[in-house]
């Protein structure tokens, strides 16, 4: 596949292009043209590509998801939907169908030196900075979804934190989808200068309809800076979600990612990070699949310089006919001596029809490194079930409790209480209530 199938999208592009932000920026127009050309030539990724062999996206080609041109209409978002996801103690930016909605966003009290604004606005006010950052953590050749995103993005979030500034409150960006068969293509850029510290939560939600959410986030962690990024992917059960998070870590920089993949009919997320001298990264992931959900997570940790540390733990719980895919690559360059890397993927299968595909890959070109990886795919431990039974708990409750516990290990890693509670809530609604008494937690 298949330039032919992509042509349905490319044919429509000339109508859409004039509505996209940054029209007056020659560098962006050139970037989008390059992306369009690459996407036109390649089409969407096919199962024949090694990195996409588990991800069948033919459904996206059969349909035509078009960008919503309505945009910015706050009435489209049910109050209760937003209320259950918008964090009370964070600055928030709300994007509806890929367009910034000022009325629902909350940015009062932001320190003047910090920029937090919509991507469309940043392309007007901060275009010089953006020119040096956009498409620098990833490029249009990565895979054609990135090219697709570059050509089509309508908005997103822009965050710039100057050096040594520690932002006390987290920033939340809510990507809300309200239109059937609509495409929301967003590009987010987060820049933390030297010694800055910021926490960002990306929350993906939608009405109970089919739509395509394609979101690329680029993160630049400056020298000795700290960025913690949360992804709460709670798309509708009918939605398609393609996410990419591409990170560049400078010397001594720390990056922590928590990836919660809960929603979507077909959801994929690629997370790549490049580590410089003595930088550290921690990638945590939890995917919960039910019914016929297909959830993919692909990570790539690139140790480019010595003394880097990476820790990765992805856990999956798969029920019914759900399928989870984990592909984790750790690359240690020849120069990256004394790298210390651990990667783990653990899968819990709750039904005979559920499937987990896991593929850890270590590529080590240096000779003095400490790298480990481990993978498990299994069912609940009978010894643990009996232990709980011997402590008065019936078998079904024991099973539910252990399943919850398996997932909860990832929730407990969240340090922001409101985010923790929200993730906990999401886990609990996906498990039978008899298993776990929330009041006792």
């Amino acid at each position: 596949m298949t330039a032919a199938t992509a042509s349905r999208y490319t044919a429509e592009y000339s109508n859409i292009a004039p509505t996209l932000p940054g029209q007056n920026l020659p560098w962006l127009t050139a970037l989008r043209q390059d992306a369009l050309a690459k996407f036109s030539a390649q089409g969407f990724p096919s199962l024949r590509e090694e990195e996409w062999r588990y991800t069948n996206i033919s459904a996206i080609e059969k349909k035509l998801f078009s960008p919503s041109l309505i945009g910015q209409v706050q009435e489209l978002v049910p109050t209760e939907l937003l209320a259950s996801y918008q964090l009370p103690d964070a600055w928030s930016v709300v994007l509806i169908d890929g367009h910034f909605c000022a009325e629902l966003s909350a940015l009062e009290g932001m320190p003047e030196t910090v920029s937090v604004m919509s991507m469309a606005n940043a392309l007007i006010k901060k275009s010089e900075i953006l020119e040096t950052y956009i498409n620098k953590a990833v490029n249009n050749d990565e895979h054609s979804f990135v090219a697709f995103n570059t050509a089509w993005f309508t908005d997103g979030l822009f965050v710039h934190v100057p050096s040594t500034l520690v932002l006390e409150k987290p920033v939340q960006v809510l990507y809300v989808n309200t239109q059937s068969d609509a495409l929301a293509s967003t590009r987010t850029v987060i820049i933390a200068e030297e010694m800055a510290d910021i926490k960002v939560i990306e929350t993906f939600i939608g009405l109970d309809i089919a739509y395509l959410s394609a979101a690329v986030t680029e993160v630049f962690v400056g020298v000795n800076a700290d960025v913690t990024l949360y992804k709460m992917q709670c798309e509708s059960a009918l939605a398609y979600h393609f996410g990419g998070i591409y990170v560049k870590q400078a010397k001594d920089a720390r990056f922590i990612h928590h990836n919660f993949a809960f929603g979507g009919l077909l959801a994929r997320c690629d997370i790549h990070t490049d580590l410089d001298l003595a930088s550290e990264c921690e990638l945590n992931g939890l995917y919960l699949g039910v019914n016929r959900q297909h959830i993919d997570n692909h990570t790539r940790i690139n140790h480019l310089k010595p003394h880097g540390i990476s820790r990765e733990l992805y856990k999956g719980v798969l029920d019914d006919k759900a399928r989870g895919v984990f592909q984790g690559r750790v690359i240690v360059a020849e120069d990256a001596q004394k790298t210390d890397s651990q990667m783990n993927n653990r899968n819990l299968l709750l039904s005979n029809d559920a499937e987990a595909d896991t593929k850890p890959q270590l590529e080590i070109y240096a000779d003095d490194v400490k790298c480990a990886h481990g993978v498990t795919v299994g069912q609940l431990d009978e010894k643990s079930i009996f232990y709980l039974q011997s402590r008065c708990i019936d078998e079904e409750t024991a099973r539910n409790m252990l399943t919850f516990a398996f997932a909860n290990e990832m929730v407990d890693k969240i340090k922001i209480k409101s985010v923790h509670d929200q993730a906990l809530e999401q886990v609990l609604i996906r498990f039978p209530q008899e298993g776990v008494n929330k009041e006792w937690l």
Partner: protein
């Protein structure tokens, strides 16, 4: 309290217990000793309801009811407690959550309301002190990253809070240093009561220096080959098990 009559048990078509008879009255402490492979652990597992064993004959009556008919959690709610030889680690479930879930299961079983949160905290803190544990343990995942001694202490903590009627201690002394053993023994001794019985399954006589049994039984080749008072344990310490196994073979 507990009456075991002519109990025979198979594992994978191999007979492990070959006719066990044992009477335990309220308030008594019975020690079951024996060499490795004698069937000690099988006996404690069969009493607590672990799967994988086939009862081929005999009966076990607990407080007038057929124990073998009950699911493991029903036995536990009725007051049977097994302190595990190898307590299981459960990441993601805190100790305090498990204790609350267990205690409330018992209360529900007896048609009692859930325990009051404040009362529970007071109860639990008392017991934690008794076992010389750090309160932080309560909020850590069940047994995760605990040392051998901490795990065994945690078992006794659960026992102290759930207040069972029949306590089965499966090799509780194995893996314990002398200080931890003293703490565990003290915890057990503090739980002695007129209506509570103990079955201590152990390979080593050392535990019995700290928890004095009323009766000692020697299990060998799936049968109780000798029963006696506390002094029998000392005799075993001195002579080992072989003279009993030999005498059995001679019969």
């Amino acid at each position: 309290m507990l009456s075991i009559k002519n109990l025979t048990v198979n594992v994978n078509d191999k007979q492990i217990l070959k006719g066990i008879n044992l009477e335990i009255k309220p308030g008594e402490i019975h020690a079951i000793m024996g060499p490795n492979g004698s069937g000690k652990s099988t006996l404690s597992h069969i009493l607590s309801g672990k799967a994988g064993y086939t009862v081929t004959g005999g009966s076990v009556t607990y407080q007038g009811k057929d124990l073998l008919e009950m699911a493991p959690e029903i036995r536990a709610r009725e007051g049977v407690f097994l302190a595990f030889q190898y307590p299981v680690e459960i990441p993601g479930v805190s100790n305090i959550y498990l204790l609350k879930a267990a205690l409330n299961s018992i209360r529900k079983h007896h048609s009692q309301p859930e325990v009051d949160a404040m009362d529970f905290l007071t109860l639990i803190k008392d017991k934690v002190r008794l076992l010389e544990m750090d309160e932080k343990f309560l909020y850590r995942a069940v047994n995760e990253g605990f040392s051998g001694g901490e795990k065994k202490r945690n078992e006794i903590l659960q026992m102290a809070i759930l207040e069972p009627k029949l306590c089965i201690l499966d090799e509780t002394d194995s893996g314990l240093d002398i200080d931890a053993l003293k703490v565990v023994a003290e915890g057990v001794n503090s739980l002695r009561a007129a209506d509570r019985s103990f079955v201590m399954v152990t390979h080593y006589q050392r535990l019995l220096d700290y928890i004095k049994p009323d009766f000692v039984h020697v299990l060998a080749n799936g049968q109780i080959v000798k029963s006696g008072g506390a002094e029998l344990a000392l005799e075993l310490e001195e002579k080992g098990y072989s003279w009993l196994e030999d005498s059995k073979a001679a019969i």
